[in-house]
Amino acid sequence: MPDSERSKRQPTFDTLEREKLFKFPPKQGSSYKILNEFVAPHIESFNALFDDSGLPSGDGKGKGLLSLGLDDMGERVIFDGTGQTAGTWGNRMRIWIESVSISRPMVPDKNKYVKDRKVFPAEARERLASYRGKMSIKLCWTDPQGQRQDVTRDCGLVPIMVRSVRCNLRSMSSADMVKHHEEAEEFGGYFVINGNERLIRYLILPRRNHVISLLRPSFTNRGPSYTQYAVQIRCVRPDQTSCTNTLHYLSNGSAMFRFSWRKQEYVIPIMLILKALVGASDKEIFEGIMMQDYDNTFLTGRVELLLRSYKQFTMRTGEQALEYLGDKFRVVLGMADDMSNSAIGALLIRKLILVHIENPREKYRMLLFMLRKLYSVVNGTCCADNPDSPQHQEVLLPGQLYGMIIKERLEEILNSIRTFINIDIRNGNTVDFNDKRYFAKVLTRINFDIGSKLSNFLATGNLVSPSGLDLQQASGFTIVAEKLNWQRYISHFRCIHRGAFFAELKTTTVRKLLPEAWGFLCPVHTPDGSPCGLLNHLARTCRIVTAPLAVAHIPALLAKHGMSEPFNACIDGRTNLCVQLDGHVIGWATPAVARQLATSLRIWKTEGKNEIPMDLEIGMVPPSMGGQYPGLFLFSSRSRMMRPVKYLANGRDDSIGPFEQVYMDIACTPEEIESEVSTHVEHNPTNFLSILANLTPFSDFNQSPRNIYQCQMGKQTMGTPSTALKHRTDNKLYRLQSGQSPVVRPALHNTYAMDAFPNGTNAIVALRKSGEPTLHFGLGPEIKPHAKGEKRDSCLDFLDLDGLPYIGTKLRSGDPIAAYVDDVTRRTKFVKYKGDEEALVDEVRLLGEDTGDVELQKIHITLRITRSPVIGDKFSSRHGQKGVCSQKWPAVDMPFSESGMQPDVIINPHAFPSRMTIGMLVESMAGKAGAMHGLAQDATPFKAVEAAGYNYYGNEPMYSGITGEEFAADIYLGVVYYQRLRHMVLDKFQVRTTGPVDPVTRQPVKGRKRAGGIRFGEMERDALIAHGTSYLLQDRLMNCSDYSTAWDISLGEVFTGTSISRKPTGPGGEYCRICRAAAEQEDELERQALATGQHLQRPQASLSVAISSQNVLGRSLKGGDLDVVAVPYVFRYLCAELASMGIAVSLEIQ
């Protein structure tokens, strides 16, 4: 192949390029930019908490979520109860939080020695500390004169997301990152908690601000006349907290509005809310729902019933309705005493009903829309929406959840201040609002430590919340970002969970792979087993919108292009579709106009005209017979999934979401485009796969489950977890010493820096029948460093005079790792190495404290254990073909080809027909060609396999290594990239002859760690019985378990036939207390009977058990009258337990 052609080939190994990047990381930007892109939702959602987030401001003023949360929280009002006359409440105090600030992680001021006060994540990791920044709030209150006072309170140390706007690594280049002991490719997105990297997992939530219709039979259990029909909307406030509202259809035609407040559910008749919102007249409501569709008797009937049902309340005006609501909810909401009922009613509506809308009139319009949709579902003119479909889903982003927790904690602070003051008033303590010291005293009783609450949340994943945050689960929000290898690590940041609640569901419908998920959730990358289909991974190109968009001008723009304004009263509901933007009704349009508007919007947004943002989702649902409820639904909110495709109408790049995708025709490749049908085309046919699924070579040739398995196995591979290994403190770190770059690789292998973290080796594979897949490794590291011969026993062979071990010391079980002087006993104590394997001391860290004024408190020692491959270790190719190394052969015994080539792996051809991993065969052929020509081979799925460099079939004659004879069949030899999985026999094997036993039953304990046994259960016992292997049975269940011996008194007669004494004794004078007592009693009775001449009565045992006579070991050699009998010790225990219940067991030997 000429050199010019060679250089054009893609992908290449890029060895020099990669080496250059590694040696000289870029001083500006990062070496692999795409890595920063795929964690962007984590980091940007966290940044959004702050006012200086760096995100575009959209329609708002660019305030951070925390500031918006403070706005929403408002103020609390307290009265000191010193009112002179009845009916007044006394002095009034308002308290509110004015601002929240979180600083970057810094060394505390107490430390006077440090020069650079910045703390970097590497330090937190190495010191097993948390990466936290100080949080403080400005708390304001008014004194009775109305003067504003303020105080700044410290809220503890809050964990900071690495590489976020509050992280000291923010916007550092790769070169700086390496200087600060990070990976050059470090992308952040996680928190460091006690040295562990933890991240908040994406969670699927119902799509915000969109009404979905539900059909759930369980709704009928909510009360009399409830039906299975309802519509639901998850409304989101500007600070990203949410409130779900549900509208239930009742069989009497009316509807009930449901919401929850502090985990308690409340239901209000919808008419009450409609009245309270705008004081609408009955006619207005009737017209608003009917929308001139007077012929629809179904609708007229229901609306009439709805209006009639309200008559019982006898409230006519909006004010009356508000007062009624305020009266009922005064206690629940816990607002200021001096608020009027109607003010509380208005507050209820503002805080809990359609919270995404500010304006009551707009809320009213939205409620009417919900009613219309509800009636239409009941009527059957539209179908119920599927809440499991990504069309109606969005993502809970880490930063948003974090912000919600902080907001709720701040609210708790305000509430608890009020509670404490009220308690003081009730207890008659002096409450003086004029006295600053009194307020300060109250504050000392409040727990301001939000930081520890957040640390606890991140460390455990448990959410402690009085309101539940409108989420369905309270635990399992966070996971550890395990750095087992690069593939596993990056997968954590792309995984998305359906919710812990769904894991318990017995139905499997939620786990189903729906066509709507195409391009957003990877169909291949999901674990098999219990989390299957619930734990998904985002497709490679799927993005999550994190920035607010500027869309305020869109309603006017649409109105200019033919949309009717929403306040227009004479809209015909039969011919007009509702136009909504983020859950606001912005107008009405006929289907034709709506379609036109949708097309125009798409052209504008792809061409950048009229300032339509690219991430606007334009969901045009056309009218249908009993399909989805029609309308033009626009979404500009955050946390939606979006993905890039090409718009065919103008050839521009388009960004589409799962809601609109359902109504599009997207061709996978340009060849598939059908004119007049296709609207879009994919940029790349593999974009629907996740990063890991994209890395399986030739995955389009494999049977689909095998690709699923490979996604799991890729994550269990021992590879190169990190290049900053010296600065890592993971509990267990697996490292492959000689990783290779695969010959056969998809183009994305280079894109995602996979070669920077190699995961396996290119093995020469022969397909040949010889038992299980066999792996052969010629050279093992068998050289002994420090082999001196003599036994080391002095602790100074291991430890230096400072009590710390020498680096490189070889440790065996029981050797000292460290020594220290116990301050109490003044004696030297040793810490011993407890593992069974030989370990080498790799690194010793001395860990100090934050303040730096005390001597070191902890030492941290890294041990290195070498594990060359042994029989029983698990290996796999990249096609879900795992296997266990079953034999290692010397090189001379291995078969070889004519060129002297010996395979590394011999795999049985039976591994293929049933598993159908043709991709592996293609890989081995491509690998062979690539290895022969020194080329990297492209293995991107759905790409035509290039014929270049192909041998014909790649078969070769082979010779036996033992006899030198040619094999009867020619054998296929190829090159396949093999991964070594982390499951190794040395961690798994369990052997026991004798060992620790349970103190109660004297049976072997369980557990590999404790040298226990493996349970030989009932089914195993049945198997041995079926085999008739009685000796083995005896061995397992008796001899190797709880064998014990006991004295037996009754046998003498049975076996010897000689009568023995009434009072048998053992060789050491042992006797049975019961028998002896019975015998003595009997003697006594006999004596009495002799004296009195009465008949003798003997007591009977209540339970009798027979033991086989085979258990009798015979008379003790030392003499005596007692026999020795073997019994299981648990049986004795059972007898003792029975005896404690008053049941005597008597034994009989047959």
Partner: protein
């Protein structure tokens, strides 16, 4: 049977291609196995690390050192096995000492290679009179193959940067590849017989045309192609074997061939 014939077709310093005729297959294969696993060489067996501040751990460097080929000419007589030697631990008769002591003072990365390994005389040399073993050793015996020779790339052991140091002492011992592959003088041995498959030991899988799909190797020219319709001689045995031996340089092709000749003449009686 006629006397065995050994015909060398191609001979280079570390590679030899020869044809062996008039021998049994068992004999030919034994030869192959002997060349791979039974010819004694010397290799680093024990490493005493005095200082290692490189990025590679001790045992990893030790492993790499073990696999460096060392000049082992005349090894079978020039060296004793430690197990056969009457010394206490190891001595000048049964071991060679190599030292490596490198420290980087430049600001660029430095390669530590096999060229840095130096043979030093045994500490107890001169205590006894020089045995016959030492006399038979050539000058470079025990030093890395190709050390300081022009045109030969030294073998990389590790890379060090400024301030890093590697100081160690290696004890070289004699052994065979049955114990550990590092003692094998051969990197690959190719072996072929019956290039036309006249004996039908194997069956070639083909789709349409066997001859078109299975190109003949270069050894096919050595033998007569089967004539069309020639009857199959089921009693025929292979007697002509084609070898290509590539060594790692520790013994050199000439010496391998010499030993092969000795073994051939020894066994053919």
């Amino acid at each position: 049977m006629n006397d065995p014939i050994l015909r060398i077709r191609k001979y280079e310093r570390d590679r030899v291609n020869f044809v062996l005729e008039n021998v049994d297959m068992a004999f030919a294969n034994s030869l192959r196995r002997v060349m791979m696993a039974d010819l004694p060489t010397v290799a680093i067996d024990i490493v005493e690390i005095q200082a290692n501040t490189t990025v590679l751990p001790d045992e990893f460097i030790s492993h790499r050192l073990g696999m460096i080929p060392l000049v082992s000419s005349n090894c079978d007589v020039a060296m004793r096995y430690t197990r056969d030697c009457n010394c206490f631990e190891n001595c000048a008769f049964c071991s060679i000492i190599l030292v490596l002591n490198v420290k980087c003072h430049d600001s660029t990365t430095m390669d530590v290679t096999s060229n840095h390994l130096e043979v030093v005389p045994h500490e107890d040399q001169g205590m006894e009179e020089a045995g016959e073993e030492q006399v038979k050793r050539i000058e470079k015996f025990g030093s890395p193959v190709g050390k300081n020779e022009p045109g030969v790339e030294p073998i990389l052991i590790c890379k060090i940067r400024k301030g890093q140091e590697l100081k160690l002492k290696c004890i070289v011992k004699k052994g065979i590849a049955k114990e550990h592959a590092k003692w094998s003088p051969c990197s690959a041995v190719s072996f072929e017989y019956d290039p036309h498959n006249k004996l039908r030991h194997t069956s070639y899988w083909f789709e349409t045309d066997e001859r078109a799909e299975w190109p003949l190797g270069e050894n096919a020219a050595e033998e007569e192609a089967p004539r069309e319709g020639e009857p199959f001689d089921f009693n025929a045995k292979p007697s002509k074997f084609y070898f290509d031996v590539e060594t790692d340089g520790s013994l050199g092709a000439q010496e391998v061939v010499m030993k092969v000749r000795i073994i051939v003449s020894f066994l053919s009686f």
